[in-house]
């Protein structure tokens, strides 16, 4: 063990910063670098610091390195006091290692705070009957965006059913327009199709069974059908021939869609903000339009169900010397009037009940209200599978999904491969 400690210390020392270990008298709050979110958190912490004996400070990290950084730090003397996370399977890893504080009691003492959050969103921070994370930013459901200009020019309507979608694919192909933009070099963008299709075909319980690692869950006929439909969509040319070369992070797909070279784009609600900053003209012209994912005939799932990222969460690390103050921080801040208002003003849709009136007054009220209603009315909000499953299963799934979309493996082979990693 001492060897391990040495190497992790060496690794931490290599960063060249004093690191969070340097100031144990403060509450360290770790989050992602995010121009939209950082000021909101800063303001929230500022308010807390006015009255708290222990001050809180924000430390931010770039997205890609954060998961690794957090993983290495937890359980070391450099662990943060409060940390940003995605809930679900990733948070569960820390919970199972007894490194996260259960907030159930604190919430039970403050039912007003507990009831302030949308139940479906709060549920993702719940791991085996304990509430380990509280939503700290906006909801991000997956939305079917479409290019209104392209649709109008072709005289077509956005799809309501799967059959509509398939006929639209043929229509746009004949017009030499890529029917759907898909940044297929990244498996998580392909996952959105599987998530929605399984929910529409079999309802949310099918994935719950998979997440609970019930045996035979992957072999469910609805899973197989959803996989077949994904592959069929790709084989019909819905995404063009070169989708596996398209990248989301360098805005390759967003640009394809904004320039009208692609007609539709299934993406998280953050795409709206991204288009607003990268292609403002496209949004202002009113060409960026949105709808819900199509229904599937004969499917058991409620058409109002939603998939995506319910929100991100703040959790408290069990090794923190400031558990009590950190708990106060989360309870008092995250559902407070000021924090929610700041979230709304930053263009996000907070996971808090009854914010319709606030949303209506914002510049992007139309889209914000749409996302809010979509989530508030959804009987079930399934978390993105790659976040909900354990990291080992999640990565394997994304790799196999890429192979499935490229027809390198059959749906049956996908199921077999997933059964092997999940066992």
């Amino acid at each position: 063990m001492s060897l391990l400690v040495t190497t992790s210390l060496v690794a931490a020392g290599g960063c060249g910063t004093a690191g969070p270990g340097g100031s144990r008298d403060k509450i360290q709050v770790w989050a992602l670098q995010d121009p939209q979110n950082e000021p909101v958190i800063e303001a929230g912490l500022g308010l807390f610091n006015q009255s708290s004996p222990v001050t809180a400070e924000l430390v931010t990290y770039v997205n890609d390195a954060y998961k690794q950084k957090l993983h290495v730090s937890m359980g070391s003397p450099n662990a943060p006091d409060v940390f940003f996370n995605w809930g679900g399977g990733n948070l569960a890893e820390f919970v199972n290692a007894n490194q996260v504080v259960d907030l159930s009691h604190a919430l039970a003492a403050r039912p007003d705070v507990r009831d302030a959050f949308l139940p479906s969103v709060l549920a993702v921070g719940r791991i085996s009957n304990g509430q380990y994370g509280l939503p700290m930013n906006g909801i991000q459901p997956v939305v079917l965006f479409y290019h209104k200009g392209v649709f109008d020019k072709a005289g077509l309507q956005p799809p309501k059913t799967w059959a509509d979608l398939l006929s639209l694919v043929e229509e746009f192909k004949s017009r030499k327009i890529t029917p759907i933009a898909l940044p297929g070099s990244q498996g998580w963008t392909e996952l959105m199709y599987l998530e929605y299709l399984l929910d529409r075909i079999g309802g949310p319980d099918r994935f719950s069974a998979i997440a609970a690692q019930r045996s035979g869950a992957w072999r469910d006929p609805s899973v197989l059908r959803a996989l077949q439909m994904c592959q069929e969509l790709a084989e019909r040319g819905a995404f063009g021939t070169n989708f596996a070369s398209i990248n989301y992070d360098n805005t390759g797909a967003s640009k394809l869609f904004a320039t009208g070279k692609a007609a539709m784009f299934l993406m998280g609600s953050w795409e709206y903000t991204s288009q607003l900053s990268n292609n403002p003209e496209f949004v202002k012209r009113g060409d960026l339009a949105w709808t819900t994912f199509p229904t599937v005939d004969g499917g058991l799932g409620d058409a109002a169900n939603v998939v995506g990222n319910p929100a991100n969460y703040f959790s408290i690390s069990a090794s923190s010397p400031h558990v009590r103050d950190a708990t106060t921080l989360l309870i008092e801040t995250l559902s407070s009037e000021e924090y929610v208002e700041d979230l709304v003003n930053s263009g996000q849709v907070p996971a808090v009940a009854g914010v319709e009136a606030k949303l209506a007054g914002t510049p992007n009220a139309e889209f914000a209200t749409f996302t809010y209603e979509m989530v508030a009315k959804a009987p079930s909000f399934t978390q993105s599978w790659d976040q909900a499953l354990s990291p080992a299963v999640g990565t394997e799934m994304l790799t196999n999904l890429q192979k499935l979309f490229l027809s390198k493996i059959t749906p049956e082979e996908f199921v077999t491969a997933m059964e092997k990693v999940s066992s």
């Binding site: 063990m1 060897l3 391990l4 040495t6 190497t7 060496v10 690794q68 993983h71 290495v72 937890m74 359980g75 890893e93 820390f94 290692a97 007894n98 490194q99 297929g184 070099s185 990244q186 498996g187 063009g240 021939t241 070169n242 989708f243 596996a244 070369s245 398209i246 990248n247 360098n250 390759g252 640009k255 394809l256 070279k261 990291p391 080992a392 999640g394 990565t395 394997e396 790799t399 196999n400 890429q402 192979k403 490229l406 390198k408």
Partner: protein, 319 residues
Amino acid sequence: MSDRGVLVPRRREVRTVVLIPAADLRPARRERPGFLWAAPAAVFFTIFGIVPIAVVLYLSFTTWNGLGTPEWAGLTNWRALPDDADALHSIRVTAQLTLFCWLIQTPLSLLLGVWAAGPQRNRAILSTLFFLPLLLSTAAIALTWLSLLDPNFGLAASLGSYVGVADGNFLGDDSRALYAVAAVISWQFVPFHTLLYQAAARQIPASMYEVAEIDGARTIRQFISITLPQLRNTIIASSVLVVVGSLTYFESILLLTNGGPGTATRVLPLHMYVKGFVGFDMGYASVLAVLLVAVGTTLSVLIVRSTGYHRMNSDREGM
């Protein structure tokens, strides 16, 4: 020809020399520098080389997700290795990538280096331009190429049709992605190897070429009979760097394709990273790390042994 070569034989040839007095046969008792001199390097190597390898070896017998304490698992991780089709596949991809990189980089940098060593006009300016990629960070290079290879808005979109890829699908096609990756890596490292060859080519005595000139040998003949043999050790050194280096190519691939499409460009180090730092299966990732250390060491020893590089034979005996 000097006669020193006869009187003071090189050590390897001691057996063949019988005419010199016996006293000279005893290896000269040279004072070895004390251990103290090696201490800083030894300590450094122990902390950053030996200890991590030992820890990784230990971890390969445990289950650990990076949190809490590793639990002893015996041979479980090692038994999983033969069943991991992706691992075997990634070894094959690594070998292919190494081969492609060597085939692209060696001839290119050899020719460029020899050319850059010459006295031509414009040489200094042009070689400075060729060396530019050496100054850029790997991540910057990978991200730039990622944009250039975007199938809709990059160079791939406009130039793809000239090389038979009308839809610009380089990084997303599993038969082409590896070539694209090898090309980007080579673009980055050719300048470095060019530098090696340039330096080595400048060391070749001009008198050899003058003699060849008198004997009527033309440029190509001179290149084959003088330059190439004289660069032998440099070719080996550069090859070792390419081969061993390609076992650690990682960040370019991570940024360009992330090992995709599917696992088409997933090399062994990337597979290790995915298992360890994305899937957080540190135990199994350590197995792959041990494998990587073993393969890397074996390969470099093999190359050095089979080429006679370790004997450091001079090609300029008697000059």
